[in-house]
């Protein structure tokens, strides 16, 4: 087994299995790790004579290294084991949480969860709680919004209950979630079969549990405008799809971003489809978000594609990666804490793993000792890029010299679009592109002032849209701290602004800068620019 080419797939369900199969087909060795004893998998499921290892009852406890060379420590039923691998895919199964509490109900033989009903329908001979002729009510996102996965399941079950079990099914819902494959057609089919939908928009039913353990549902029907009292034989509460607790542990072990619900992958369009904040760590299917099985397969394919792509990629590490002058480092660990891509490792002192570094510049801008350098981002290099347009300031009317620091992933593209569309732009505008606005440092801003900038604009991605997660926030914070310096220098604060923009907004780019220019015209020539011989800024 070529260990350097191994991928660890975490999870024991169908999504993990699909990824493992696909990678094996491509000759990549895989280790499938499931925390459960009885994962939905066994070794005999896999094609014979393929490089697969299956570890059950195994939990990941530690991960060191970076893409291409991770060392993962695991607890196999009390025994510590380690694997050296290239890539990691998280595909842990999600979990269902029945909403009994939400509706103030306690589970009983009359009050069931969606999964219980699913089990009963699949094996009616084992469990006969649902009898022919029953009135059955489903709650589908009644008090809290649900999703098409749950709604689809409810509609399928209701069809079965209505036709096979001769039940009269009622579905009580707020917003029926039909934004899934074939769900609108399924909705119509259930109605044709006699399923009754009761929708609530401005009112809500009051729900209580009777002594006979049935639910009592009292409501105002918006269609007939009548008050109803309703005690179904069976009441089925919907379920929330949530990440497993183990998955939250994993996000800590791997230092991965999460969304509000706790699924892996921060809620950031830059991570679409299966990327995380760490190169070589991917997330698929039930670990990523609420999805149907079909969507899990789509994720599995994307995970396969990404892993295969990373392994085939033989490009050398690009030049513009961070480097730490370890002699001058004081081990404050600022860089280690702030790197969004977990590209900084520690031994005696921090060092950068080039393969994982994205060259965002956040570490360099934040290091208190300025011991980190990135090619292209040093003060002098940035300064060289700030070239005052030759004919500025020689005219009778004041044309301000404006320096815009632009994030490459948003503002630079918006600028290109604006230029292509020939939109208005300040005459004295010079844009300086940065891989991430988070890399902008105090030094860069001072260089712009020294070059005679009358106004400086920092343009970042919108909050929540930053490839480095918080680069835009760091940029704003740094600008704020520079403003105090402006006060000391006697410079107007309005000369430095931070704005956010998306890559597709050419018009907005043009407007932001032309308005800024007007503002600077009102302020006049910068005090610092005035003190210099602006005709020849190379002497400055």
């Amino acid at each position: 087994m070529d260990l350097q080419n191994t991928t660890i797939i975490i999870g024991g369900g169908s999504c993990a299995k699909k990824i493992a199969f696909d990678l094996l087909e491509k000759g990549i060795s895989v280790t499938v790790v499931s925390s459960e004893e009885n994962a939905g998998l066994c070794l005999s499921d896999f094609p014979k004579n393929t490089p697969v290892e299956l570890l059950t009852q195994t939990r990941i406890i530690k991960c060191r290294g970076a893409v291409g060379n991770f060392t993962v420590s695991m607890d196999l039923n009390g025994k510590l084991i380690e694997r050296n691998i290239s890539n990691i895919v998280l595909a842990e199964e999600d979990r269902r949480e029945p909403n009994f509490g939400l509706y103030g109900l306690t589970p009983s033989e009359r009050i069931l969860s969606l999964s219980q009903v699913n089990d009963i329908i699949n094996e009616p001979q084992r469990d006969d709680r649902i009898k022919s002729g029953f009135k059955t009510a489903f709650f589908a996102g009644l008090l809290r919004e649900t999703d098409p996965v749950i709604t689809g399941q409810i509609m399928l079950l209701s069809l079965d209950l209505q036709s096979r079990f001769k039940n009269q099914v009622y579905i009580l819902t707020g917003n029926l979630k039909v934004a899934g494959d074939g769900l609108e057609a399924l909705y119509r089919k259930t109605r044709d079969e006699g399923v009754v939908y009761i929708k609530f928009s401005n009112s809500l039913p009051s729900i209580s549990q009777q002594e006979d353990n049935r639910a009592l549902i009292e409501f105002y029907d918006e269609i007939t405008a009548e008050q109803f009292k309703f005690t179904p034989d069976i009441t089925v509460v919907d379920e929330a799809i949530v990440p497993s607790e183990y998955l939250s542990e994993l996000t800590k072990v791997f230092k991965l971003g999460r969304d509000m619900a706790g699924f892996v992958q921060s809620d950031n369009v830059r991570r679409i489809p299966v990327y995380t904040n760490r190169k070589g760590i991917l997330v698929a299917g039930p670990s990523r978000t609420i999805q149907t099985r079909f969507d899990h397969d789509i994720d599995a394919a994307n995970a396969g594609l990404s892993v295969y792509g990373l392994l085939k990629d033989s490009a050398p590490v690009p030049e513009n990666r961070a480097e730490i002058d370890r002699g001058r480092c004081v081990r404050c660990l600022t860089c280690y804490r702030l790197c969004p891509f977990i590209a900084i490792s520690l031994d005696a002192k921090p060092f950068v793993v080039g393969e994982a570094c994205e060259g965002c510049g956040i570490c360099a801008a934040e290091c208190p000792k300025t011991t980190i350098t990135i090619k292209g981002l040093s003060g002098p290099e940035i300064s060289d890029r700030i070239v005052r347009p030759a004919d500025l300031g020689r005219e009778k009317v004041f044309t301000p010299f404006i320096v815009a620091f632009c994030c490459n992933r948003s503002a630079s593209m918006a600028r290109d679009l604006a230029v292509n569309n020939k939109l208005d732009m300040p005459k004295g505008l010079v844009t300086v592109e940065l891989p991430c606005a988070g890399g902008i440092s105090l030094d860069h801003i001072l260089h712009a002032l020294r070059k005679g900038a009358d106004g400086i604009m920092i343009l970042t991605c919108h909050e929540g849209n930053c490839h480095s997660e918080k680069g835009n926030i760091y940029a704003r914070r740094r600008a704020d701290s520079v403003l105090d310096l402006f006060d000391q220098m006697g410079l107007e604060r309005q000369r430095l602004v931070v704005k956010t923009i998306a890559s597709n907004m050419a018009m907005e780019f043009s407007e932001l800068l032309t308005k800024f220019e007007e503002q600077i015209i009102v302020l006049g020539v910068s005090k610092i620019a005035k003190t210099k011989d602006i005709g020849d800024d190379k002497t400055g």
């Binding site: 696909d22 491509k26 919004e145 999703d147 819902t173 917003n175 029926l176 979630k177 039909v178 934004a179 899934g180 494959d181 074939g182 769900l183 609108e184 057609a185 929708k199 928009s201 401005n202 969304d259 509000m260 619900a261 699924f263 809620d267 950031n268 369009v269 679409i272 489809p273 299966v274 978000t289 079909f294 969507d295 397969d297 789509i298 994720d299 394919a301 994307n302 396969g304 594609l305 295969y308 792509g309 085939k312 990629d313 992933r409 948003s410 593209m413 918006a414 290109d416 679009l417 919108h462 909050e463 929540g464 849209n465 998306a502 890559s503 597709n504 907004m505 018009m507 907005e508 407007e511």
Partner: protein
């Protein structure tokens, strides 16, 4: 075309340069597959390139800005050859595909391909036949018209007089979830798009009031409950399908609907009405697929119920909204899946 065919390298054709096609081309190129990207229109980017950013204080994750980055990467990629204003004219299938591409009806070129990815996207529902006055009244727009307007001028103004509107209504599900048109699907993106758009307008033009007429609000985004709760104070949500729209003498719009609260028919005056028109199968999807000997599902998309099953046809894959209504994120993911299937098929 003096193209040199390198036997070692595989060759693929991607049809359609929307977000799905762009992503498919980029992923293929990453594996050193030579790609011919055939786009019918004069520019790459598809529908997503007309959309506006709807961030207010924060990004609302609509995904529209992802197109620009992909587009630049495609243009710069040496493995991808872009054919603009081009369409597939002829296909011969003999293990591989020999394809004739026409360029603006003027010239043609032929190319050989080992695999084809169809990513020709969707067509928007044309609401002319609905009683909402589209094309008759200047201030009735589609959701896409509104996206374009805001992207180009930053705010909403009435096309008829360039004045800022006071009252705007969105009508959801126009041409979706609609037995009359035979469109028994939810278009998935229009609820999220309308709500985000409402939020954007309210934040930029707070004097505008917005009413959204809906059947069911579909979830969008990862924290939808939070988003919806925040929106309820800002936007009026009315569960009703409006009946019709008339223009008043003072050039406003009168809309009648059954008001669920008062339980009465009501005529209400708005300054602008936005029709959330749905996603339909592409106009020439049928013709395109028949060139490759593929059939479409009853709804007219490539497949609807099961996106994991690609057309039985070997070597042809599909990505994006040709498979059914979906958003940008899903289109990107489906492109990844199509490419992975293609790579497995080509044994690369």
């Amino acid at each position: 075309m003096g193209s040199i065919i390198n036997m070692q390298r595989k060759h693929a054709i991607v049809i359609g340069g929307g977000i799905a096609g762009l992503c498919a081309a980029l992923e293929l190129a990453r594996f050193d597959i030579d790609v011919d990207l055939v786009e019918k229109g004069p520019a790459l980017g598809g529908h997503a390139r007309s959309l506006t950013c709807k961030a207010t204080d924060r990004c609302v994750k609509c995904g529209a800005c992802l197109v620009e980055e992909r587009l630049q990467a495609v243009v710069e990629n040496p493995n991808i050859k872009v054919h603009l204003g081009s369409e597939i004219m002829e296909v011969q299938d003999s293990g591989g595909f020999s394809v004739v591409i026409s360029n603006e009806g003027k010239s043609t070129c032929s190319c050989e391909a080992d695999a084809v990815i169809i990513a020709s996207g969707f067509s928007l529902f044309r609401p002319d036949g609905k009683p909402y006055g589209y094309k008759r009244f200047a201030n009735v727009l589609t959701n896409l018209d509104l996206e374009r307007m805001i992207r180009m001028q930053g705010s909403v103004k009435r096309p008829s007089d360039q004045r800022e509107p006071e009252k705007i209504a969105f009508i959801q599900c126009v041409g979706s979830r609609d037995a009359k048109t035979g469109h028994l699907w939810c278009s998935r993106i229009c609820c999220g798009a309308a709500l985000r758009m409402s939020r954007l307008i309210r934040s930029r033009q707070p004097q505008v009031t917005i009413s959204v007429f809906y059947i069911d609000i579909q979830s969008s985004g990862r924290d939808f409950q939070f988003f919806l709760d925040g929106l309820r104070n800002d936007v009026r949500l009315i569960r009703a399908i409006p009946a019709d729209v008339f223009r008043t003498e003072d050039d406003r719009l009168s809309m009648s609907y059954f008001d669920p609260t008062s339980r009465q028919s009501k005529d209400e005056i708005f300054d602008m009405i936005i029709l959330s028109v749905g996603l339909c199968p592409g106009d020439d999807l049928k013709g395109l697929c028949s060139l490759f000997g593929m059939k479409l599902s009853d709804s007219g998309f490539v497949t609807v119920s099961d996106k994991t099953e690609y057309p039985e046809k070997h070597g042809v894959f599909a990505a994006g909204t040709v498979l059914g209504p979906m958003g940008i994120a899903e289109s990107i993911a489906s492109a990844g899946k199509a490419v992975w299937e293609a790579i497995r098929y080509l044994k690369i």
